[in-house]
Every structure is written in C-alpha cells, then in structure tokens.
Symmetry: C2
Subunit: 376 residues, 2 copies
Amino acid sequence: MRTRAALAVKAGQDLEIVDLELEGPREGEVLVEVKATGICHTDDFTLSGADPEGIFPAVLGHEGAGVVVDVGPGVKSVKKGDHVIPLYTPECRECPSCLSRKTNLCTAIRGTQGQGLMPDGTSRFRTLDGDPVFHYMGCSTFSNFTVMPEIALAKVREDAPFDKICYIGCGVTTGVGAVLNTAGVEQGAKAVVFGLGGIGLNVIQGLRLAGADMIIGVDINPARKEWGEKFGMTHFVNAAEVGDDIVPHIVNMTKKGADQIGGADYTFDCTGNVKVMRAALECAHRGWGVSVVIGVAPAGAEISTRPFQLVTGRTWKGTAFGGARGRTDVPKIVDWYMDGKIEIDPMITHTMPLEKINHGFDLMRKGESIRSVVLF
Amino acid sequence: MRTRAALAVKAGQDLEIVDLELEGPREGEVLVEVKATGICHTDDFTLSGADPEGIFPAVLGHEGAGVVVDVGPGVKSVKKGDHVIPLYTPECRECPSCLSRKTNLCTAIRGTQGQGLMPDGTSRFRTLDGDPVFHYMGCSTFSNFTVMPEIALAKVREDAPFDKICYIGCGVTTGVGAVLNTAGVEQGAKAVVFGLGGIGLNVIQGLRLAGADMIIGVDINPARKEWGEKFGMTHFVNAAEVGDDIVPHIVNMTKKGADQIGGADYTFDCTGNVKVMRAALECAHRGWGVSVVIGVAPAGAEISTRPFQLVTGRTWKGTAFGGARGRTDVPKIVDWYMDGKIEIDPMITHTMPLEKINHGFDLMRKGESIRSVVLF
C-alpha cells in the first residue's frame, strides 16, 4: 500500500514529505494507522547525524498513537480496530530480560531493531522507485501507516484522545516512570530535576504524583520557571546565574531542621550534558541519595566523579523509557491521564499536519515548544 | 595513665613503639583495653601520606577488639568488663542519617573524628613530653588502651576470641556487608569480585553465604586463586593474562542458557583502582547489574564511563563499612562467626606483638599476608 511519510533522506537535512510503499504485516506483525505522533529530541539527535547508530534513509518518529488496521498470521494480543501506542521498548514477556523481573529492557528484537529492520531482518518500507527505507526505533511513526511487531504495541482504551496519549509513547512515560519505576520516590522526598524540557516537566509531575515535598527545578532558561510550577515544581534554580556553585547551592537549599548535611534524596538529569549529570550525582544526599540519568549524551561523552561520592552512599543509575514495561505499564499511564492523575494537555504546545513537521523540529531546537504533535 | 602504642610520627615513616599518656574517659566516653588489632590497607594509606586527610602524630589502627576498663559519666550501653569492638563508623541512633533507615553513615561525630579528636574537640593522647597526639578514625587501636565514644562501641559476646573478631571491626564486615547490605545479593546470583585481598575474600564468603551460584574472582596475583577457592570462589580470572579484554571476557563467562547477553548480576571492586572500578561496572549485566565500589582510590582519582552504561540499566554504588550499622549488625556478625556461618581463622595469616607491627605492614605491602593481627 501507499503511505504518506516524512522521510529522513540523510543526516543534517530537513525531512521530505513523500509517498512510500508499505508492505503488509508478516507473521507476528501488525499494520497500524498512526493518528498522531510527537516530535522528540531523540528524533532530532538521529536526524542531525550525531547518533552513531543512525541509518538513512529512514522513517523517524517513535512517539505515536493509532489504530490497528490489519494483523499478520499468529497475532493474538491485538485485533483490527484496537487503539494502540507503538513501543520502541517492546515487551515480549519471554526473553531473559523480561523474565528477570528486574528490567524493562526486553531484548527479543534488539538486534534487528537497531539495524532499522523488522525482526525477520527485512524492511516493510520502500520508495516508489523500489529502494529500501529503514525503520526507526522499531516504530517509524512519522508515517501515516507503519508496520510494528505485535510485542511492540500497547493496547489502550478507546476513549483516550490520540493527539494527547501519543506523548505517553515516550516523554510522559520516560519522565513519570523514571520517578516511579527507576527511582522509586517516596512520600516526603526532596528531589532535583535538571533540565525542564518535555522530559523534565514529566519528571516533575511524576514527583508530584509520588508525593515529593521539595521539587527543585534547574534550567538555564528562566522562562521554564513558570512551566515547572504548572506541574508541581516548588523551587527554581537558574543555573546560568548560579554557575559553578550549583552543587553547594542545591545542597544548601535542601538543608532542613536537624539535617544540616543537605543534599537531595533523588536527582534527575534530563539534559544529556555529562557535566550536569555529575552535578546531579554530587548534590544527591550523602548516605542515600539516588541520581538517575535520563538524558542522552553525545557520542563518546563520558561521565566522571570521585569514587568517594559513591562510597559515601550515593547511587548512580539510569533509565530508558522510564523503566516501564510497555504493554503492561503504558495502558495504566493512559488511565492515569484519563483519570486526571497526570496532565498532558498543557504540554502539547503545538500541533501541525505532517507537511509542517520540519517547523515542529525548529520549534523544539529553539526551545519554543514543549511538545509538538503531528496530526494525520 | 600510661599506654604502650605504635605512634605514627609522620607520613612515610615506620611506626615508633612508645609509651603515651592517655587521659581517662570524659562524659559519654569509654576506656577500652585493646586485646588485638588487625593491620589494614587504610592504615597504610594514611601512614604513606597518600591520605589527604591524614594528621600526624597519631595513633593509627581501626580494626580492634577489647574489654571495657572504665566508663565516663552518662555512659549506659556498656559497662566495665564488657567485650567490645571499636567502630570507626559509629551508630548514635539519633542523627538524621541513623534515623533515615537508609544508611549506616552516622554523622553524629563526623566533624571531630575527621580531625583526629574526641567529640568534645580534644584528644586523650599525649606524648610523655605533653605534646598532643591525634586519634585516628575514632579508634586508635594501635594502642594497648584507647578512649572511644560510647556510640562507637559494639558490645559483643564474651566467648568470642579477640584475636579473630578484631577482623570484624573492618575487613569482614566491609566485605560480607557489601554483599548483604549494599548489594542485597539473592540466591542464584552471578557475581564478580575484583581484587582478592582481605576485603575481596570476605566479599567472596559473603556471596557464598547469600547463595550466589557463580562467584568469579579476579586478581593479577595467581596465588590468590587458591585463596579465593577456600571461601567459595567458583571461577578465577587472571587479569594480568586477560589484559584489556577483561570486560568481554567476563561477559562471555556469564552467558548461560537463554541469556546470551551476559554480564554479572553483581560486581565488586576491592582494588581502589579507578580503571578496575570502570571494568567492574561495565561487566555488570545490562538491565539490572549492580556494581559496588569498596576500594579506596588515591586522592584526586576519578571514575568514568559512558552514561549509556547507566541508561541501559546498570547501577553504580559504593559502600563504607559494608553498609553495616556498627552497634546493631557487628554483634550479629560475631554470632555468625561463632556459629560457623562465616570463616575468619584462615584469613588471619600472621600474628605478632606490637613491637613487630612494622613487619605486619611490610607483609601487607608485599601481598604476603591476608591479615596480620597484633596481639597485646
């Protein structure tokens, strides 16, 4: 079949809106009509050429929502008409990772997904000239129709609006999940969030949900103060003003009552900057502070610190897709949105048709949007 | 009173066996007759001058066992005749750290202890000429008699032999505790221990106690293979032979059955070498591997890695005194020794009188001893 798509022809170029040929679903695969898709920094990371694993030409996009149009042989968990969210982290429930009960990082199709291919080692996308086009993160939601492995689809309730829940396919789950699944934040905690973009704001609302008492947001953009406060931030630090003293500054802010050591119970890096990751670790509380890396660093960049920081009780962790198991947890997060436990609407600052997708990338690069959503 | 002690006069010199003047216990303090004390790498780290916080002249030693001789006003938890193990990590049960339930790093007397002083800011030791001598790690067990804060004494059973349980004052608790308290190793786990000295061997026996299935020991000294096997090591890797391929080498060793990703569930650095700490992290299992830093690194040394290692599910932690709360946990570990759950006797490879203490340091530096114990 034909599908309208935004094609990443090569690194560093704008996406091109084209018609592509899409082959139907093979065994264990599902054809999905994408109804809405968010534009995420990770798409831009790959499009820019900075992603060492980026492959072109490809259909990018990994934050979508849509409807099942057709299923291949053997597909049991979804059927035509089901509403679904594509998962760049699948959940096969059979691999050693899924069965470990300790991680969400299903490895069933890791090899082929990283190569831009379906699990059988081939692509469903071609140009109209017949040249192969790669999949991206197993999703390729910048196409009106896409083919997904069954294990990479979360079935969700049908009354949830596509133009909002698409954000649960990456940003919302990553931020809220980092708080609930990876950090395990408890009532009354003190927390710091570095970087108040689309991920950071979702970390903030995750912290509010978890009952954190002190939610410190850190950004170099003063306009983000108001944004943070919308979702539960209690204190704002302008990192551009504080400069190199950011660690003692935050440690001092968190001293309270008998605790004159200071430091946050939980800190989150949502910047991808390795210097910020270090600061996030070092302003975690002596004895028990946990720091979670969420941001994606440039290729080759390394984090470092004195091991003394760990020996005196700090823990350095990371999270991917918020530690969420896609098929199990994503439908719950959709429920939370529908029940009003978490917000999404105010974060969707811009919507646009596929033809304007490059404008959405521009807004993101300039920091003018929180999230742009393409509506098909 | 007079006490015989090994005095660290200045950095880089042998200890001098001298008589010192010891003032009796003040409020909240206890006079202890030290019956036995181990010699630990940390003592040598300070004596060498590499410890940036080292202060001289001082009475070193922090791994002892002895008997209460006298108590100062207000002391309630121990009395004359009680058998005790001095604690360089005290347990006041009242500070924010103790009350957090999340750390063993009591901060009640941290400031003065780091300055080589009793909690009231003074020293109990003097030379016979009246010059002040500093305490060390709040213990100073290289003196036949020492004064300790009450909160830094674990009361232990009286049938336990001093010449063995002194080792519980540091090495045993650090190693076994890192496994049980900090890592929380479960039955069937795969683990790697880097560095098979006095700490590493105790990590190994902690892993055996926890029920680990695969216990890989790594050292550059092939003679340590036999030592590791005595305490439960199942596989030995000679790091000098494997060289830079140590991470893939270990990852391959741990692949089993359906799990062809490989990596250890838990890894422990007992070397203090920051490059080894990185290798320990990176051979932890994708998705859930936990790496624990135990070794003390040289001043200024930093650990580093790509943040991708954390984002894909590895956790980097550290431990001090094995995460053990001294007054609560140390008596239990003494019970475990007396019940035969853990071994100590074979690790005490050398004993000597105080006059031979410098020989004990030499044995340790040459890797010829596991633990030397000074008997008073």
